[in-house]
Symmetry: C2
Subunit: 264 residues, 2 copies
Amino acid sequence: MATSKKARTHPPYELLYWPGIPGRGEFVRLAFEAACVSYKDTANEPGGPGAKAVVEVLSRDSLSSDGNPPVFAPPALRVPGEGKNGAPLVIYQTPAILSYLGDKLDLAGADEAEKAWIQAHALTALDLNNEAHDTHHPVAVSKYYDDQKEESLKKAADFRETRIPKFLSFFERILKANEAQGQGKFLVGAKLSYADTTLWNVLSGLQYAFPNELKARKKDYPLLFDTFYDNIAHTKGISEYLQSERRLPFGNGIFRHYPELDRP
Amino acid sequence: MATSKKARTHPPYELLYWPGIPGRGEFVRLAFEAACVSYKDTANEPGGPGAKAVVEVLSRDSLSSDGNPPVFAPPALRVPGEGKNGAPLVIYQTPAILSYLGDKLDLAGADEAEKAWIQAHALTALDLNNEAHDTHHPVAVSKYYDDQKEESLKKAADFRETRIPKFLSFFERILKANEAQGQGKFLVGAKLSYADTTLWNVLSGLQYAFPNELKARKKDYPLLFDTFYDNIAHTKGISEYLQSERRLPFGNGIFRHYPELDRP
């Protein structure tokens, strides 16, 4: 658990996610870490429930006694005392969790316009995240990579050749458009938002999964890779987190390094 | 344009989307129609700019003079007078537009918990929408279906056999969990939300694209297909819309009827 002087002024947020992988839980972790707000990483807590807490929230057939609906997939966020009639609140879907936490942690923008743009940019970064996942699972999520390797080679080639440059050039344009305020450091306004931390993690994952491709392309997006990426990594909270054991390594999750899917 | 007594109390909302197809613009249209609030469907207006308005908003390289950032993909929403310093506000990403409009049109829930659940359920319905799209474009969005037919047959089989039942049984559980308040008619609480209209449109599209598959499965989800689906279709605003020429037919967009991808 991150320790912070802010810890006692916030409810004890609990992240419910699969243990041992960054995955989509990482976007939620980064919001907490950037805000220097403590949280329980339930499945990864030493002596904690592990995957059991996740399985429990997924397997509910109906409204539990706390009034929350079932959850489609992790991550989920549990916030004691913030639900109906003082019960815990349980919400799911990464963008919905980020939108909720963004408001609470002051990472969601200064006004209604910024709030909408931050949400839109975070959703776009998450679309890129999902497309990266689909390069190794183009046919069926429930089947192994080895069972869809031929299709993966085709999907990854298209991802590298058309999708990566489309997304990266879009975000470079966003940074450029906001340069007067954001100095290339922030996507919206003059302040860190959950759109920044979300995009940062996707860029981090892409460099892990497609190192050759990203190395060849980085120079085309100077604001994105020089100014923005480095600035977020050195932000207070984030920089401490990245040096801690709480930052789980990429491995066999959304971002996977299969050399045959990368640029030769 | 939908006419309504509410028209003059709201700003002249403008939907920017490709002309002639329901697509992702449809989720935005349904929110307006359900709220009986008038809007400009820019590209489909007789004598209007057609696709030009969409291309314009996509091709901006930097902040336009109105202070809005570039847009990654349509749909986008333009709201005159609601942006920075009285400029128009332009936002993109379907879930971000729905979240913004949900608040304005009273389709976003009664409190913070309902708001988060409505957003999460709408995102889940949109995930199903995206997976339906990927059945005919599993390898590359930019290539023709005919160039990825072999992969599409595999992807569609998995979609029918594992993904459709996973999503439908989840939403049946949501309706069941909320039955005391929603009577099977609403996903959250006792009132229509943009999660309802969003899921409804996805179910409508699935029945167009995979008629045999849906016919065979409908009986397993009685709340979803008997109570919920029919109720939304008969909601004031929606029912008038569905009988109007404003409702564009499915065709060659996200939902496509390729018999070879359906259950034989």
